[in-house]
């Protein structure tokens, strides 16, 4: 299997981000909330990216922030995938009123913009990390549901699925052996896109002050903490933008490649 250069680059950069997140305490030069210098010190040998609005090391904040953001996004994506794809497959394979009820409910949730929905819920819920994950996972699972259902419906009308039903196969075989293997690559590609969305979303919420709460570091929060600096020409608030963009583009490159391989669905080992 030949991996194209762009996808390989994406894969490497993405892995670097994840490794940094996992080993944050080992990599970060200072503690997460440790005040070590003056306010907004410029980058120096001691503080590679300078310090933030209250004198914490910005590089350490970025590393710990990445950990928080990536952890929340990963957990939310995992939740949305488990929930969305299980229900989506289930709806597609069962059909009838189960499919109708689930699909109409999902239509209803999706008719409200995600951010607005989240804001409404957060106006009455405490903003803990668990609630953020569950909320984002639930909201995002509607999109996964739609995709999983559409892919599964496409597959379940295939003659080979009918052939399996005529053979007398149980629903487990039909879902796991006939449907799932053929639905995997569009779902994996979608997982990349949903993860990006989760990163952007949690950053947005934190920026609005409704996500991760200080002193916990996260990328959206770092922007909020340092936004005043912009007016003095201090770029501290822009580092998270750069980090998010690089991570998202890398994942996009990988997802594009996975999706491109879906066209070889009929291509066997491809």
């Amino acid at each position: 299997m030949r991996v194209p250069f762009a996808a390989l680059l994406g894969l490497i950069v993405t892995s670097l981000f994840f490794l940094t997140a996992i080993f944050a305490p080992l990599i970060a030069p200072y503690g997460m909330a440790e005040v070590v210098g003056d306010v907004w010190e410029p980058p120096s040998d001691q503080f590679l990216l300078g310090t933030d609005s209250i004198g914490r090391d910005l590089l350490s904040r970025m590393i710990y922030g990445g950990q928080t953001t990536i952890f929340i996004a990963t957990a939310a994506t995992a939740l949305s995938f488990v929930l969305g794809s299980v229900l989506g497959f289930f709806a597609a394979v069962s059909g009838g009123w189960i499919d109708q009820t689930l699909s109409r409910f999902v239509d209803l949730i999706m008719s409200i913009p995600t951010l607005i929905f989240a804001l409404v819920v957060l106006s009455v819920m405490p903003t803990t990390i668990t609630i953020l994950i569950v909320l984002m996972g639930l909201l995002d699972s509607t999109r996964v549901y739609r995709l999983a259902r559409a892919v599964a419906v496409d597959i379940t009308v295939m003659d080979y699925v009918e052939a399996a039903r005529l053979r007398g196969e149980k629903i487990g075989w039909i879902i796991f052996r006939e449907t799932l293997p053929n639905a995997l690559s569009p779902l994996v590609a979608e997982m990349g896109l949903r993860f990006i969305f989760a990163v952007l979303f949690v950053s947005t919420l934190s920026f609005l002050g409704l996500g991760v709460q200080p002193p916990q570091a996260d990328w959206g929060g770092i922007v909020k903490e340092n936004k005043e600096g912009i007016n003095y020409g201090i770029a501290a608030a822009l580092y998270p933008a750069f980090a998010i963009a690089v991570l998202c583009i890398s994942i996009n490159l990988v997802a594009d490649w996975v999706l491109g391989r879906t066209t070889s669905l009929k291509g066997g080992r491809g």
């Binding site: 003659d159 080979y160 052939a163 005529l166 053979r167 007398g168 391989r261 009929k266 491809g270």
Partner: protein, 545 residues
């Protein structure tokens, strides 16, 4: 001899393909083809899929579809090499001197515009006629092509006329600018057989009356024999044989041509009915959920062990629905089915495993009938494992036996469906059905998607297997030649009812009812002058009009 209208020399055509996971690669589709076409003559281009016949047709308009590119040779129209001509001249040629009729008129008409505007567009744009003249000519063509209400049909939108009518409109579109040459690309292939004959006759008359020259592209030799003066046989982008229609049909020189001419000439001796049928379908009536009409009306047929019942009809006749009822996918609203002495429950889910095992199915599209992520070994092995609990070496041995039976050798077990040819795929599907040791196999249009020679091979295999395994076939098809080749008894279906049923010899001998007569007479025969002969003796207008 007059100068040729179209002179093709050393025509080479290539394309770039993008195999997944590999580097793009250039392939040759047509390698060096020469031919001439005199004004007012019709040349038939015939070949199986991949022969490059459509590509050659479009090259006569200096057009390559998709990534197709003309890589060498010359194409002269009226003495001018259009491959070297500036693009302005090519545009004057397209839609002016040379026009095109595609296989799917439904897709080739713009859904948002009235038919008249589209039919006259090229003639007006190329300054051949004024708007008024072009419209008058279009009406005249509509009349000549036998379209109903020729004065007003032009004001309709494409979706408002039937498929057969739209195909005629497309012919009018091609003839409207008074071209010198029309390229017909499988113009009747997508139509039902009884509609095809009328469209074919209309096209033939129109060609004769307007004196236009034509390239007639098709995979069906019997069809092209009716309209062309000369025939060129193509195989994999190269010419096999060129001659007059008479010579190609009656005295083919090359083996490949001989095979094409003698296709569908399998002779099968009809077997006598036995005492107890294996399948009894009694007074079955069925409809789809949410509709208010019966797709099947009071169907009663029998099928005897080791024999073949052909269910024949056109699209919409209900023949595939009958298969869905028998397999239990669509429970009927009335009637009952007896299989091997037992009454089958209407719904698939409640049938015992043995009923499921003994009743197998083979599909039209082998491509979608096999899971692309499973190997041939898994596909054939699953019924062995599922019904008989075979495992390990025993299963392997049985898979290999089945592969031998379908005449595929060693080494196929590890392959994926995408790595097989069309005929091989269908063979694997047959092996999967056989693996269950069935008493009855329902074959739903199993040869329709295949090229004629490949289809012949499949039919021979099915007959051979029937002898050996004593399995009965319920053979659903729209193709009467196939029916003749393999049936013991025949049921003719029309609009949800069986209109004629009996042994093969009974059904195929006169006196006929009107529909069977129409159906039988519409199947193109491999002889010159057949079309005129049939049209003289028609009793009933085809369903598509």
């Amino acid at each position: 001899m007059t100068d040729p209208l179209l002179k093709v020399r050393g025509l080479k055509i290539g394309a770039t393909i993008y195999p997944p996971g590999e580097k793009p690669r250039d392939i040759d589709i047509v390698h060096g083809v020469d031919f001439d076409l005199a004004p007012g003559k019709v040349l038939g281009l015939i070949g199986e899929s991949g022969a490059g016949k459509s590509t050659i047709g479009l090259a006569s308009m200096a057009y390559g579809r998709g990534g197709v590119e003309i890589t060498g040779g010359s194409v002269e129209v009226n003495g001018r090499d259009i491959l070297k001509a500036p693009f302005r001249d090519v545009r004057r040629l397209r839609g002016g001197e040379v026009t095109y009729v595609s296989q799917s008129a439904a897709a080739s008409f713009n859904p948002a515009k009235q038919i008249m505007e589209q039919v006259t567009e090229a003639a007006i744009f190329q300054n051949k006629f004024t708007k008024a003249q072009a419209e008058a000519r279009a009406v005249e063509l509509f009349r000549k092509l036998g379209l109903p209400d020729p004065e007003n049909i032009g004001s309709r939108y494409p979706h408002q006329v039937s498929g057969g009518q739209l195909q005629r409109c497309m012919t009018a579109l091609a003839l409207c600018p008074e071209p010198d040459l029309v390229v017909f690309d499988e113009p009747t292939t997508a139509l039902d057989v009884t509609t095809q004959i009328d469209v074919l006759a209309a096209i033939k008359d129109a060609i004769r009356d307007t004196g236009v020259a034509a390239l007639y592209i098709t995979h069906d030799l019997a069809v092209v024999a009716q309209v062309s003066d000369h025939i060129m046989v193509l195989q994999q982008g190269a010419m096999v044989e060129y001659g007059t229609t008479d010579q190609i049909i009656n005295a083919p020189r090359e083996d490949y041509t001989k095979a094409l001419v003698s296709v569908r000439s399998i002779r099968h001796e009809e077997k006598q009915p036995t005492a107890t049928p294996v399948l009894k379908v009694e007074t079955i009536t069925a409809r789809y959920k949410g509709t208010d009409f019966d797709v099947l009306k009071d169907i009663t047929v029998d099928l005897h062990p080791g024999q073949t019942l052909a269910v024949v009809g056109e699209s919409g006749s209900g023949k595939s629905t009958l298969a869905r009822v028998i397999t239990g996918l669509l429970p009927p609203s009335a009637g009952q089915i007896t299989f091997d002495g037992r009454t089958l429950t209407p719904d698939l889910a409640t049938r015992p495993l043995d009923d499921l095992r003994e009743l197998q199915m083979i599909y039209q599209m082998a491509d979608t009938a096999m899971n692309p992520r499973q190997t041939v070994g898994t596909i054939i092995g699953r019924p062995l494992e599922f019904y008989f609990g075979l495992k390990g070496a025993e299963k392997q041995k049985r898979i290999q036996e089945l592969l031998d039976q379908i005449e595929l050798g060693v080494g196929f077990q590890e392959r994926y469906p995408a790595e097989l040819s069309g005929g091989q795929k269908q063979r694997v599907c047959i092996a999967r059905a056989l693996a269950a040791k069935p008493k009855l196999i329902i074959c739903d249009e199993v040869t329709s998607a295949l090229d004629p020679l490949v289809a012949d091979g499949i039919l021979k295999l099915l007959l051979e297997l029937q002898k050996r395994e004593d399995v009965a076939y319920l053979f659903i098809t729209h193709d009467l030649a196939t029916v003749r080749a393999i049936a013991d008894s025949i049921a003719v279906m029309y609009q949800g009812s069986v209109v004629r049923y009996g042994s093969k010899s009974q059904v195929l001998s006169p006196p006929f009812d009107d529909y069977t007569d129409l159906l039988l007479s519409s199947v193109p025969e491999m002889k010159l002058g057949w079309l005129e002969e049939v049209l003289k003796h028609r009793k009933m207008e085809s369903a598509g009009n």
